[in-house]
């Protein structure tokens, strides 16, 4: 009988394992496929802005090898400063894609670098789903793991940053994040040093990939502290944490971007502090173990009095050192996470990035949808029973909810936590409902005395024995191993305790709900899941698949495709010299260097605020002053993006306020009130003269009146103020088909004619009059 039992159990285990493997495979394929909408709707192209930089770096890596990449100094951007790519880029993503390309080429599969880059993100999202399965399996069990993996495969927040073509750091970083957490929890559960080593290596991969690694190195110490304070210190905690700190700090210092920041900045201090604390606690426990209780009390009083003095002294020194730096040792971006108003007060560049704004309430529902309701249920489920792993999951969700409220970009960190919690909640719910149905289903069940009411007095010995016999009736995602163990526990419990009254401990309760109620509940839960799936697929197809380099719009006469950006970059690539410098607002820097292959003045890295302010000042100044600034930077071409003809709202006129603010922050002669009429930026007839004379206005609206006769701007919904004017220092060289990108060339300086002392540049609109001597007639600009 026992042998049959074990054989049956083994067969069931095998069946369960094969089933879970199959489901995982399906989840991986699903995660990959749902991100392919943009490839189907448009083409296999790299999206947006930042991915173009990563793509260019990957191209360089594949062409020149690792050593050149590591030491690369890029002189085609931030002219004339250049940029040290090797020291300022997180190499994880490019090295990963480069390795994949190299392996594929080694096996003579000739995929281009672009294809590899485009499809890296979907592949790693499949890996991330599997990592989420592993993590949730450690926290709760196989069923919760599968549910969490399925939820993560299609959560819209993660899809938005990892579609095919979104070749950005988060594509691999989220996988690294979840995998590092999985290894940490696994080490915590098993206490094996082998997993601690793997944990440090996974953390190294995370540091290589994304600046968000500081989240890990602050969350794990927080969790360790929480465990110590709640009395859950164990030697497994020490093994999980201490090697990670030492190895992790060393590995983080190996990455050039981080370097010595790994030991010097406040972002890492929490880990060192908790490192010291855990050693003190470990020592205390060790001494407690080898001394008698009386002696231990003596030791405690002695040590506490002496140790307190030492601690206070050390803390005072530390605080003095940290407080002496103006930002208390934190970097600007991290400080803006803790104090959300910091960036808008001190660093307008950080405040201007749209991803750094706080999210709105609807964006929560759009991005994690149904999970927003399931997360609280998951948090409660984590407390029954509370283990180290489930306390970690709760801490993770709480901190990520806070940070997602500060910055919309960090909704991405919330997504895996929400999926884990929801997976736990759904799995527990299905557990209860399935059990209720199974026990009350009128097939082959001899005992009718199973209580139909909502009680815990149910399950006499008889019905418990029935459970152990009813083994065929398992639902798909049930953790088979776990339910058997639970039933065995219940048997033992029932035999020990005489009364079947409502017991205090939750583990002894076998919650059985009414049959109809559980049936309806299961149907409703499946319906909820289907809403989630429908919404996720819709979001992936419609909302998050736009490559933003190609735009489409539907009108009554069909589908219009706006490929103006690539048109402009291709023109630049073919019609200008290789060494020509192009000036534009920093949004387009990466795309210009990657697609047009020309040197730019500022790009999306935004590391030098003064340089950006210079360009911003030039765009806000009148033509002559702007020409002077651009000429001093050796600029040949100026590129502006203009959406007025077609109604494209993200054009440079809408971004103009940031040019004024950033420029005005460094050059005080640019004053924002000069451009405002009644507190608003206007370009119609009510606009201020400074606005109507600035370079951005002129370059955007030059000859715009020729399109429809009255110069109606479709984005601002007004006619423009100054319609007829000529450009004195710039000449238009290219305007794309829908007027979305306009390229101008700087006119060369006029030759000075011998014998004349007049200035070689024509009259400016700020009203400086030239001294004219000689017979040259004054050229008056008839269109001021």
């Amino acid at each position: 009988m026992a042998l049959e039992d074990t054989q049956e159990k083994a067969v069931r285990h095998a069946f369960g394992n094969v089933l879970s493997l199959f489901v995982l495979l399906l989840i991986g394929v699903f995660a990959f496929s749902i991100r392919l909408f943009s490839v189907i709707k448009y083409e296999s192209v790299i999206h947006e802005f930042d991915p173009y930089f990563n793509y260019r770096v990957t191209q360089y890596l594949t062409k020149n090898g690792v050593y050149d990449f590591w030491n690369w100094f890029d002189d085609r951007t931030w002219y004339p400063l250049g940029r040290v790519i090797g020291g300022t880029v997180y190499p994880g993503l490019t090295l990963t894609a480069g390795t994949i390309w190299w392996i594929l080429n080694f096996f003579n599969i000739p995929l281009s670098v672009e294809t590899v880059c485009v499809f890296t993100a979907p592949i790693f999202s499949a890996f991330a789903s599997w990592a989420a399965y592993l993590l949730t399996k450690e926290v709760k069990g196989v069923g919760a793991g599968l549910t969490a993996a399925a939820l993560l495969a299609m959560v819209p927040s993660y899809i938005s940053r990892s579609v095919a073509g979104s070749y950005d750091n988060e594509a691999v970083a989220i996988f690294a994040l979840i995998f590092t957490f999985y290894l940490y929890v696994k080490t915590l559960n098993t206490g094996s040093l082998f997993y601690a080593t793997l944990n440090a290596l996974a953390y190294f991969y995370m540091v290589c990939s994304w600046g968000g690694y500081t989240f890990i190195i602050n969350l794990i110490p927080m969790h360790v502290l929480l465990c110590i304070i709640t009395g859950r210190y164990s030697s497994r905690l020490y093994i999980a944490y201490a090697p990670l700190v030492v190895l992790g700090t060393l590995l983080a210092a190996l990455v050039p971007v981080v370097g010595f920041n790994a030991v010097m900045t406040s972002e890492h201090f929490a880990s060192f502090l908790v490192f010291i604390i855990i050693h003190v606690v470990a020592l205390a426990y060790y001494i407690k173990g080898i001394l008698t209780p009386k002696m231990f009390k003596v030791a405690v009083t002695l040590v506490v009095s002496v140790g307190m003095i030492v601690c206070v002294a050390v803390l005072a020194i530390l605080i003095a050192v940290v407080a002496s730096s103006p930002t208390k040792g934190w970097s600007g971006r991290s400080l803006s996470l803790l104090d959300p108003t910091y960036a808008s007060k001190y660093i307008p560049i950080i405040a201007s990035v749209s991803e750094h704004q706080p999210p709105t309430w609807p964006s929560y529902f759009m991005d994690i949808n149904v999970l927003a309701f399931l997360v609280p249920a998951g948090i409660i489920a984590c407390f029954f029973p509370l283990s180290d792993a489930s306390s970690f999951a709760v801490l993770y969700i709480v901190t990520s909810v806070y940070f997602s409220g500060v910055m919309v970009r960090l909704m991405l960190v919330l997504a895996p936590a929400a999926c884990i919690m929801s997976g736990i909640a759904l799995s527990e719910a299905f557990d209860v409902f399935g059990r209720s149905i199974k026990l009350q289903f009128p097939i082959g069940n001899q005992t009718d005395d199973v209580n139909a009411g909502n009680s815990s007095q149910v399950s006499t010995n008889n019905s418990v024995k029935q459970e152990s016999e009813k083994t065929e009736n398992t639902l798909k995602e049930r953790p088979v191993k776990k339910s058997k163990k639970k039933e065995k526990e219940k048997e033992k419990e029932k035999e020990k305790s005489e009364s079947t009254s409502i017991t205090k401990q939750i583990e002894k309760k076998l919650l059985i709900l009414p049959f109809e109620a559980s049936l309806v509940a299961i149907v409703l839960l499946v319906l909820l899941g289907s809403f989630y799936v429908v919404h996720s697929v819709w979001a992936a197809a419609e909302a998050y698949s736009a490559p933003s380099i190609v735009l489409t719009s539907r009108s009554h006469d069909g589908l219009h495709v706006f490929d103006d950006f690539r048109e402009a970059y291709a023109w630049l690539r073919h019609n200008t010299d290789v060494d020509d410098k192009v000036a534009s607002w920093w949004d387009y820097g990466y795309q210009t260097t990657a697609m047009a292959n020309r040197t730019v003045i500022v790009d999306n890295n935004t590391w030098n605020n003064t340089h950006i302010a210079t360009v911003g000042t030039a765009m806000s100044s009148p033509e002559k002053a702007a020409w002077d600034i651009f000429n001093s930077l050796d600029v040949k071409y100026v590129l502006v993006v203009f959406g007025g003809l077609v109604g494209y709202p993200s054009d440079d006129i809408n971004k103009f306020l940031w040019m004024v603010r950033i420029g005005g922050g460094v050059f005080p002669h640019i004053k924002e009130p000069d451009y405002l009429r009644d507190g608003q930026y206007r370009i119609d007839s009510q606009a201020t003269p400074t606005m109507l004379n600035c370079l951005m206005y002129k370059l955007s609206y030059y000859r715009f009146v020729e399109t429809d006769g009255r110069g109606f701007d479709r984005v601002r919904h007004t006619e423009i103020g100054k319609k007829y004017f000529k450009l004195t220092h710039f000449e238009e060289v290219f305007t794309t088909h829908h007027w979305m990108v306009r390229i101008y060339k700087l006119k060369p300086a006029k030759n000075r004619i011998r014998g004349q002392t007049k200035k070689s540049k024509s009259k400016t609109s700020t009203g400086k009059n030239n001294q004219k001597r000689g017979t040259r007639a004054t050229k008056k600009n008839p269109y001021p």
Binding site: G191, S192, L193, F194, A196, T197, A200, L201, S234, S235, R236, Y238, I239, A242, P243, V246, L247, T249, L250, L251, A253, L254, F260, V263, A282, I287, G289, I290, L291, T292, M295, V298, A299, L302
Partner: protein
């Protein structure tokens, strides 16, 4: 009065610590000695840095962290090998030592890379 009682208490504490410690098995004492050696080396390095200055900071960091790291790993080994530790009673000490060696290998590989 108070001082003498605290002094007597301190003496008694030290005595009981010493007697309790001498009861530990020899292999654990060897590991403890190794830990003490690593920590002392780390302290010597810090003192040396304070005297001479921290110019090749990466060398200082790698030296210090290698001592601290191997001490931490030895503590982990001691935890896993200790017979009185109920959580690890079905972990064979050979496996614990193998993990210790592996982690040390990774640590020293990183150190040698960082030493500069």
């Amino acid at each position: 009065m108070g001082r003498s009682t605290t002094a007597k208490e301190a003496e008694a504490l030290v005595q009981s610590l010493r007697s309790a410690y001498s009861a530990t098995p020899t292999n654990l004492k060897i590991i403890d000695f190794y830990i003490a050696f690593a920590v002392v080396t780390a302290l010597i390095q810090v003192v040396y840095m304070a005297i001479v200055g921290s110019f090749p900071f990466n060398s200082f960091l790698s030296g210090l962290l290698s001592c601290v790291g191997t001490a931490v790993l030895a503590v982990c080994l001691r935890i896993q090998v200790n017979k009185e530790n109920k959580e690890f009673k079905d972990l064979p000490p050979e496996r614990a030592f193998a993990d210790f060696v592996l982690c040390n290998l990774v640590l020293h590989l990183v150190i040698m890379n960082f030493l500069g």
